[in-house]
Symmetry: C4
Subunit: 205 residues, 4 copies
């Protein structure tokens, strides 16, 4: 009950931010339509990476909230700031899509910096709740809680390194952004180091 | 509980993708307004077909989930990919609407290919859950489950044939896309071959 | 349970369609900002009438669903068609806002025709469920059900008359569209003729 | 139950209005990308203030509804009008972002007037429900209810003063809009004067 209404608002922002991404893909106006559609591949790529990133953040946000038993005003405010970054993602996505054939390096750095900020705000959401078990549910398993805390360690450095790699090559950076999304989706590092079943894999009942 | 949060996010993406379709219908800028509004019929047609398609996918998505008892990480990731295709639909819809008086064939093929991809991802969602009853609810009727599995057979070939028909005539392809939407809406083939009542038609309680 | 998932999707489409209306209000580009903002009054007016209309349809849609106990496939399909019209409203709203200083008559007629279609589809939703109590809940009060049925009588003629009044004066038509929204909001005609309390006014418990 | 469906619609409008704000941040078209992104700071600032404002209104809206036990038709209509103002916010936000380097004073006054209207409508929502405990839940603590009523006192004057300060300096006004958002987020004035725990800080159960 305490967390349900926060989750409803969060679900809305995640779903809308992900769906608004499509607005950055613009119909080609001139030349052969097939050529125009093929030349839009940077838009498709940016759409795919950002949609996957938001989708995975949504999955993990829900998994975190399964451990949280109550909320306070500060936690609500931190969550609003986190959602402010999630809802911002369509903008760097469009910047990346528009500039992959031009200022690709600057666009990739901007895209990466927003991802670093997203990872930092997500850590703030979790650690505000977890430090001293401030908002953790009474019946939450301590091993799951400390496992989640440990799993946050690589998030910010990974996105920071991917961002810095744009100085070597913007394409490398984009490849790393995509790899990070796939990695978090398939490996679910956040929840697999605890030695206990992931919340999502438990039997119903 | 297990599937509820996935359904909330999915409901959001379906509803937003369907409602964003209207943004492709642009106010005519010059000439008589009435003429301009009449000449927009390709936009209305594309809006109607895509809205119906997303609406029907949403109905069927819910019907499938009535058979599913738990979720795992891979299933969540497959669903995010499926929703990525659903949220993409406003783009090929706008491509189709803008080009029905021009490159109609190429636009219809692009629109059709996205529908084939949608049908393929929807099959992936179902068969990942259904093979070996991996995620099927304990109390799900095996006849309903196998009936749903059989009902997926015509999906990909139908959309593929409609797409290929654009080489004969793009208008034929558009007519087939519309017919497929109406067919799936009214016939509900997916659920009528099982010999048991469709889940939606059951009495409450 | 039967109707809950349909209501979730409907809530989403109503909320998104209402919120997307703001996209038709465009920032003035030239001249004094204050003058530009004042000259946008047709946009504010169209925004207000359409937002109120969608909001009231949402209230009434929920009130109808309180009487409905189960759904079938045809009912789902009719609802998708009804929501298709709701999600379409941002377009005639923008047409009206852009043309109140120009082709006001044609714009008002187009706006009115979409409202007539909306009222017709809303009637189809109700009467498909109500005729022979096909989908009415077992415990629904017959006086409430027949009261709702009677209250649908003035809907289509009212919007049709408002539309036709545009031939006298488009301003009259716009005034009538606004009056209809206010009338349905404050009088709640649909539910006040039954001699029983409106569902929303009942005590909780 | 009585208020749940109103909250669902409200959650949707809050979440969509907040997420649509990103559409006012436009990709720079010419010159160095980094320079262009830096020069967009008025857009980022307006986005941040408006997102925080909508987020805080959403938190407070939910806290109010925790005290409300039933709804009537007039209350629903007032809420639709309130949500009409919330959904309008993306427009003054874009006006502010586009004009901070130009007609900053006029833009800040317009932005402020919409905030005054928002505060006034929010007061109307609360006092319609609270006067004579018209719609207050039976078990609501009278001290909480009167504490909320007192906490509304500074809202309209604060936003009015911030708006008027634009005649001294538009930058002062923007700083005050930001300060008001932070103040309401962190101080939660509305709920801290009652001498009882804020609803959100209570233990679950």
């Amino acid at each position: 009950v305490q967390t349900a209404r926060l989750e409803t608002f969060s679900d809305g922002v995640f779903a809308i931010a992900a769906t608004l991404l499509i607005l950055e893909v613009r119909v080609p106006e001139e030349g052969s339509l097939t050529n125009g559609l093929l030349h839009l591949w940077p838009s498709y790529l940016a759409y795919g990476i950002s949609f996957a990133t938001i989708g995975i953040m949504w999955i993990n946000h829900h998994a975190l909230f399964a451990q949280i038993g109550r909320v306070d005003r500060t936690f609500l405010a931190i969550n609003v700031l986190f959602l402010m970054v999630i809802a911002f993602i369509p903008f760097p996505t469009e910047v990346l899509a528009r500039n992959l054939h031009g200022d690709a390096r600057q666009a990739a750095i901007f895209y990466g910096l927003v991802n670093v900020l997203m990872a930092a705000m997500f850590s703030a959401v979790w650690f505000y709740a977890a430090v001293g078990r401030r908002l953790i549910a009474e019946d939450a398993d301590p091993r799951v809680v400390s496992g989640i805390s440990r799993s946050f360690a690589p998030g910010i450095p990974s996105y920071a390194l991917a961002t810095l790699s744009a100085y070597l090559s913007p394409w490398l950076a984009v490849a790393l952004f995509g790899a990070l999304a796939i990695f978090y989706a398939l490996e679910s590092t956040i929840f697999s180091r605890t030695g206990v079943p992931a919340p999502d894999a438990a039997d119903p009942g």
